[in-house]
């Protein structure tokens, strides 16, 4: 058992941190970038690609760099530290499905371009009403229905869409500029972008075999996304906590720095406890994904739930301990709280994961993390 990064992984972390801390050197810079569409910096996206960050999870023969979940987690955590709004999660989610389900040609066509930063993907999987339905006529497929919110759906060059088929769940590639696709983009509260994507007989290409149920592949892709998001959250929590403790040391009231009030330092100590427990669980889930992918869906649920609790705790208290300044858009902690809230509600929130874990709680005695 080993929880430390090796030297290559440390180098990757330093490189990504170096790049992102330049791109997002202040709250102001990030606000400027998230103000105008597409809500992220195309330049930073290209630089991330040049660094190799976008191809990490994919096999070399598909055009990726053949790294693993740990490397992905490193990038995700750095993204979280500066709240970089680039569509990295979408690459993990949608790219992962292409890698898992796609034919050799589909993989060759998509993955290489994703790794180069030339193709922004988005996974359209959230049904706002009835599920999107896929219909076959001969060999050609069409989709109808609405997905919303689709993260980065308006900017995406290619949509990966889940839809109901006779076999259960199918996954399809859709060219968003095709007839029958209508996209309405908007801003999300955390400065990100999402879209309503309506399909009306839109042409779709099945990823892999459309007569097979792809539920398991979708669940695994979501688990990968949940775990990466967990690392993003851990990065954000770490910075929110540091920012808060620094503030307690410098802000003076009643003639003394705030850290002379034990009522406040004790709350900071509890935030540290939450952050450490979340980091432990998320790191573990990454290692489960790496070593025992068949347990990854459950591990991801456990991690996401821990992240939900810790994120709320840290987000809420970071603002409270800052007082009024924490409420302002010029200051950073509010943005961290907003992002942590968005992460909580992406790919299943704490209650959803808790309910899922509760439904199987009597199937086992103890939870053994190392199997």
């Amino acid at each position: 058992m080993d929880f430390t990064l090796d030297s290559e992984q440390t180098a990757l972390r330093d490189a990504v941190r170096g790049l992102l801390s330049k791109s997002y050197d202040s709250t102001e810079t990030r606000r400027e970038i998230t103000k105008t569409d597409p809500g992220f910096s195309e330049k930073t996206w290209t630089q991330l690609a040049e660094l190799g960050a976008l191809g990490l999870p994919f096999a070399e023969e598909d055009g990726g760099f053949g790294a693993g979940p740990v490397e992905v987690s490193i990038v995700a955590e750095e993204i979280g530290r500066v709240l970089a709004p680039e569509p990295y999660l979408e690459t993990i989610l949608a790219g992962g499905l292409v890698a898992d389900l796609g034919s050799a040609e589909q993989r060759a066509d998509v993955i290489g371009r994703v790794a180069e930063g030339a193709l922004v993907l988005s996974l359209a999987h959230h049904d706002i009403g009835d599920a999107v339905v896929a219909t076959a006529s001969g060999d050609t497929w069409t989709l109808s229905g609405v997905k919303e919110p689709v993260l980065h759906g308006a900017r995406a060059d290619l949509l990966v869409v889940t839809a109901r088929t006779d076999a259960g769940v199918g996954v399809f590639l859709v060219d968003p500029s095709a007839d029958g696709v209508e996209r309405t983009g908007y801003r999300t509260h955390d400065g990100g972008r999402a879209a309503r994507v309506a399909f009306d007989g839109a042409a779709a290409t099945p990823l892999g075999d459309p007569t097979a149920d792809a539920s398991d592949a979708v669940a695994l892709a979501k688990a990968r996304g949940q775990i990466a998001l967990g690392h993003e959250a851990v990065g954000a929590m770490d910075v929110a906590l540091r920012t808060t403790t620094e503030y307690l040391k410098t802000r003076k009231q009643f003639g003394v720095p705030l850290n002379t009030f034990q009522a406040l330092t004790f709350r900071a100590a509890d935030l540290y406890v939450s952050a450490e427990l979340a980091r432990s669980t998320v790191t573990w889930a990454t290692l489960v994904l790496q070593d025992e992918p068949e347990r990854a869906v459950e591990a991801a649920s456990r991690a996401k739930m821990q992240v939900s609790r810790a994120g709320r705790h840290i987000g809420q208290e970071a603002i409270q301990l800052h007082g009024g300044i924490g409420m302002t858009a010029e200051y950073s902690v509010g943005h961290y709280t907003s992002r942590l809230t968005a992460i909580d509600h992406t790919l299943g929130d704490g209650s959803e994961h808790l309910a899922r874990l509760a439904s199987t709680v009597t199937d086992h005695g103890v939870v053994d993390p190392i199997g």
Binding site: M1, D2, F3, T4, L5, D6, Q9, V70, T245, L248, K249, N259, Q262, T265, F266, A268, A269, D270, Y272, V273, E276, L277, A278, R279, S280, T281, T283, W284, T286, L287, V288, Q290, D291, E292, R302, M305, Q306, L354, A355, L357, A358, S359, V361, T362, G365, V366, V367, P369, I370, G371
Partner: protein, 385 residues
């Protein structure tokens, strides 16, 4: 990074598991599993079985019976012991006074006490706290006045756990009342509890049990050779001891076992009650997070020093321990009132002990450095506040 235990560690775990489940008498393990109080003899018997196999004091220097284990192996040893319902070696001996003597005692003191301490031939009590010195331990007032080659001790200790079994008591005493700082005039003294002038008086706790005591010293004469280390340096040794105490005090393994047992006792109820099921699932996840944090801590404390985050383990570990005892009371519901029912009662055993145990475990967040003290440590030493 990797999750799996190495082959050696996995083999080590298997070895521990086999030993604990086959070599420690079933009746003792059943007592622990049923969360019933152990007798002194059961505790002594277990420790002697462990000691004979070299498994009682692995944290000590090798020369005194310790093992050159990695922190991870030590962790596995501890967890497997708890999972197998084996009573851990008496903490006062194995994790408190033993390491202090081994680190700071003279050769004579080591030879005289360490083998007997490892084998529980001597039952140690901890005489630190006093009525007016709890969290603020350094304000203790029990005095030891040097007279020739003896100390004469006067004062009072309190909260002495299992002092009724104690053969010896390790104490912090004030040897220099005029020292400029209150931490500076304190010494670490070993006292035979059969000494004239020493009396032990029981304190009854809210669960009706008797596990703590007051200890009074009236002109108790203690040979000067029973001093550990140097005079007036006792505070350093106490800090060393308290650091060790905190590391072992988050019993993740036994809390996990309790929770698993609660599920079994509740039978179909949990599956049919979503509120209960989410509560149990939530606890399981918190325990998982804690266990993983413990693993991170041991994986990172390669130099043998406690990781700063060990305060997280004490703080959260005791909270979860308490949450599980609370769960038992709630599962028992009205049956939890039957704590005084005798053997003829229709109320199951676990339900009868649930409330006394719940009340008893309120202690966990008070002793071993109260949870407020842990928050203070995190805020000061980790967050720099």
């Amino acid at each position: 990074m990797k999750l799996r235990l190495s082959e050696e560690d996995a083999a080590f775990r298997e070895e521990m598991r086999t030993f604990f489940t086959t070599q420690v008498p079933q009746s003792i393990r059943d007592t622990v599993a049923a969360r019933r109080e152990l007798t002194k003899d059961q505790i002594v018997e277990t420790q002697q079985i462990l000691n004979a196999a070299g498994l009682a004091v692995p944290n000590w220097p090798v020369e005194w019976g310790g093992k050159d284990w990695t922190p991870l192996q030590r962790h596995i040893w501890h967890e497997e012991m708890q999972l197998a319902s084996v009573p851990a070696p008496l903490a006062f001996n194995a994790s408190m006074v033993g390491p202090v003597i081994a680190a700071f005692g003279s050769q004579e003191v080591k030879e005289r006490f360490l083998p007997a301490t490892a084998n529980l031939d001597i039952w140690w009590s901890q005489g630190f706290s006093e009525p007016d010195a709890g969290s603020d331990l350094a304000s203790l007032r029990t005095v030891a006045r040097r007279e020739g080659d003896e100390y004469v001790v006067n004062g009072q200790k309190t909260w002495t756990t299992l002092g009724q079994y104690g053969d010896w008591i390790f104490t912090l005493v004030r040897t220099d009342p005029d020292a400029p700082k209150k931490q500076q005039g304190i010494s670490f003294l070993l006292i035979d509890m059969t000494s004239p002038g020493l009396t032990v008086r029981p304190i009854e706790l809210i669960d009706g049990g008797h596990e703590v005591n007051e200890v009074f010293f009236e002109d108790v004469r203690v040979p000067a050779e029973n001093l550990v280390g140097e005079e007036n340096r006792g505070w350093d040794y106490a800090k060393f001891l308290l650091g060790n105490e905190r590391v072992g005090v988050a019993p993740v393994g036994s809390t996990k076992r309790w929770l698993a047992a609660a599920k079994e006792l509740a039978g179909d109820r949990i599956a049919g009650d979503p509120v209960l099921a989410t509560r149990v699932a939530g606890l399981e996840n918190e325990l998982l997070a804690l266990e993983l944090t413990a693993l991170r801590v041991v994986a990172h404390s390669a130099d043998g020093k406690p990781h700063p985050a060990s305060s997280v383990l004490k703080l959260r570990g005791t909270e979860l321990q308490q949450a599980v005892t609370e769960l038992y009371v709630d599962l028992a519901g009205p049956l939890s009132l039957a704590s005084g029912a005798g053997d003829g009662s229709g109320v199951p055993d676990w339900a009868r002990v649930s409330t006394p145990q719940y009340l008893n475990f309120r202690k966990a967040s008070i002793y071993g450095g109260s949870n407020e003290v842990q928050r203070q440590i995190i805020a000061k030493t980790i967050l720099g506040l």
